[in-house]
């Protein structure tokens, strides 16, 4: 946690409390209730001088290809002190490869002593694992890092209260932390596009990842209404902006187009098969694409009214070389996004604003819109307070 080196000797004057607060009983009740359901404070994990003990739950591809390489690329000292998986042989194999002690039982000393617990498993088992950990050890001084969509479906939402039992719960929405989306956010933040009116994600936004990424451009505004039409998810958000996520999702084989009242932006991956066509069809004030030199990624090319510039991604090579299993660029971007997510355990970044309530919200909104393809669904905003109240219910 942040610790101020304070000098406690600066003198101050006496304080005279001279008035009462006059607010009605109902207002007080509303205020206190709102206070109770507030999402976990996004506090920093620990004194970053001492290494943090990390315990991993799960040994699948996601853990092997992304989580472990991401931990190896952090700027902060961490020690991965144990790994557990239902299939202990998998855990042993991964542990052996990376020099991590595998555990046959979840209830072990490494878990009890962990500062950070990472859960990356099939969503239907998440609820049970959370309950087991909660029964076994005190979690109030531990940080939980958990993959989205967190739970399998609405039936597990009652377990959301367990996420509040941790000092901090971080959901790994790494897609919105891809470096190209960070560049887009920077351009928006500098006011170069003005107020955003429309965000189109053509084949590059998987359900909740797509919604989270689009909302990250809008300071996480909530969805007011949504519908599924012509293989596209349409969302209307608070500030008169429309988000359109066209399916099917094809990783980065598609494009992003943003229209603001001052300018437009097109992010079109160079490897997208129709890139040239799209660039002609959708001229934009800012054009962003990946830049390759002899088939190797070197950075992002940004062309705008100010000229052309190459924006480097210094982490790319180190992340790529840390990964044993997949050297694909998309996987490297995923790990880079994850590094940003993990960094939010130690320092504040865009992910610090995206807590588990937002993670559950995006997951449920997209799920509901998908399951009611022929209907428009008004007032999806209501999901947010519902999740908040559920998660606070047994606190």
């Amino acid at each position: 946690m942040l610790r101020n080196n304070i000098d406690n000797s600066q003198p101050c004057l006496p304080i005279k409390f001279n008035a009462d607060i006059q607010v009605t009983y109902l207002s007080r009740l509303k205020f206190n209730l709102k206070n109770k359901v507030r999402e976990n404070a996004r506090i920093l994990h620990c004194d970053t001088n001492a290494p943090s003990n990390v315990f991993l739950v799960g040994s699948g591809n996601r853990m092997k290809q992304n989580f472990i390489p991401a931990f190896k690329c952090l700027d902060y000292p961490v020690v991965i002190s144990g790994i557990y998986s239902r299939t202990s042989q998998h855990a042993a194999e991964v542990g052996e490869l990376w020099g991590i002690e595998s555990q046959a039982e979840l209830e072990c000393a490494a878990l009890a002593n962990a500062d950070v617990i990472v859960i990356s498993i099939t969503t239907r088992y998440v609820s049970d694992i959370l309950k087991k950990i909660h029964r076994f050890t005190d979690t109030k001084n531990k940080v939980l890092i958990i993959d989205t969509p967190v739970f399998e479906g609405l039936k597990h939402i009652q377990s959301a209260y367990l996420l509040r039992k941790y000092q901090n719960t971080i959901v790994t929405e790494d897609y919105m932390n891809f470096p190209q989306f960070a560049i887009v956010r920077d351009i928006i933040k500098q006011g170069k596009l003005g107020n955003i009116k429309k965000i189109e994600m053509h084949n590059i936004g998987y359900r909740y990842h797509g919604l989270a990424t689009a909302r990250s451009f809008l300071k996480f505004s909530l969805v007011r209404s949504a519908c599924y039409q012509d293989k596209a998810l349409h969302y209307q958000v608070n500030n008169d902006c429309e988000i359109v996520v066209v399916e099917p999702y094809q990783k980065l084989d598609g494009y992003l187009y943003i229209k603001g009242d001052k300018g437009t932006l097109l992010y079109c991956p160079q490897e997208f098969k129709n890139a040239k066509e799209i660039i002609l069809q959708r001229p934009a004030d800012y054009s962003l694409t990946e830049q390759y030199l002899e088939n190797s990624f070197v950075g992002f090319d940004l062309v705008g009214p100010e000229g052309q510039k190459l924006i480097l991604a210094p982490l790319f090579e180190s992340v790529k070389s840390a990964s044993f299993f997949s050297k694909e660029d998309f996987n490297t971007f995923k790990t880079m996004g994850l590094v940003e997510v993990l960094n939010s355990t130690f320092k504040y970044n865009i992910n610090s604003q995206y807590g588990f309530i937002n993670g559950l919200y995006d997951s449920f909104v997209t799920k509901v819109v998908h399951s009611r393809r022929t209907f428009g669904l008004p007032i999806l905003k209501i999901f947010h307070p519902i999740i908040k109240y559920f998660s606070a219910l047994r606190n």
């Binding site: 101020n4 406690n8 600066q10 607060i21």
Partner: protein, 243 residues
């Protein structure tokens, strides 16, 4: 409910009660000089509900360096050794008001916690604080600042005591922005003028420090006054992707 407490230190008082009153940092002569310059500035502004003189404008007026003087630097570094600014402006609120100038319609008579810092609160730790210096005399009817010792971890109870801070120009105090506070309505016919500085830890999320009002000052101070340029973000590691 009237009672008096004597906290031992500024930091202790902020942690426990969310507020600390300090002896004036700026003398009357200094404040009169600032007010003369500010009067000239405001004369050319159309008076609205709230009028601001932002950090870069304070710098242009030649006020900023005397605001950020050595006494203030010592005081701030005694509270937070990695402080970065979040607010730095002088503002006026209009008179003849029946409600608070901010959050008036929240059903709590303007009482609130600053939502933009509630993502990072810890018990008995100070992460976000503001300093107010009254630049006009503030009596009961001039819209004094009011604060209650209710942290982000406390519930609002019946008959909670609060502190309404009145005083002459030069009155100076600090408060934790996550504590319950409000601006009382300025019922007088005169505008209330306040210098407001807000600080937070360097590593906390700060989307304001990249605003031109701060970056312009930073560029200028790096060359002339490196002692305080870090308050404007000169030591932030975070580098914008788009230069």
């Amino acid at each position: 409910m009237n009672f008096e407490l004597s906290p031992k230190s500024v930091y202790g008082s902020l942690i426990q009660y969310g507020v600390a009153l300090v002896p004036p940092i700026y003398n009357q002569h200094c404040i009169n000089e600032w007010n003369e310059k500010l009067d000239c500035f405001f004369k050319y502004e159309v008076s609205v509900n709230r009028n601001y003189v932002r950090a870069d404008q304070l710098h242009t007026l030649g006020i900023l360096e005397s605001i950020l003087n050595k006494d203030l630097q010592d005081l701030i570094s005694s509270l937070m050794n990695d402080a970065v600014l979040y607010h730095c402006h002088v503002y006026e609120i209009e008179g003849e008001q029946k409600s608070s100038h901010i959050h008036a319609d929240n059903g709590l008579n303007g009482w609130h916690r600053d939502e933009d810092c509630l993502y990072a609160v810890e018990k008995n730790q100070l992460h976000h604080f503001s300093m107010f210096v009254y630049l006009s005399d503030v009596a009961d009817e001039n819209g004094p600042f009011q604060i209650a010792p209710i942290s982000a971890f406390d519930n609002l109870k019946r008959n909670t005591p609060s502190l309404k801070i009145t005083g002459q120009r030069g009155t100076c105090f600090f408060f934790d922005r996550t504590f319950f506070h409000r601006a009382t309505p300025n019922q007088s016919i005169t505008r209330r003028r306040v210098l407001k500085l807000s600080f937070q830890n360097k590593d906390l999320f700060n989307d304001r420090i990249v605003l031109p009002e701060f970056t312009k000052v930073k560029e200028s101070l790096i060359e002339t006054n490196s002692d305080i340029s870090h308050w404007f973000g000169s030591r932030l590691d975070e580098v914008s992707h788009v230069a």
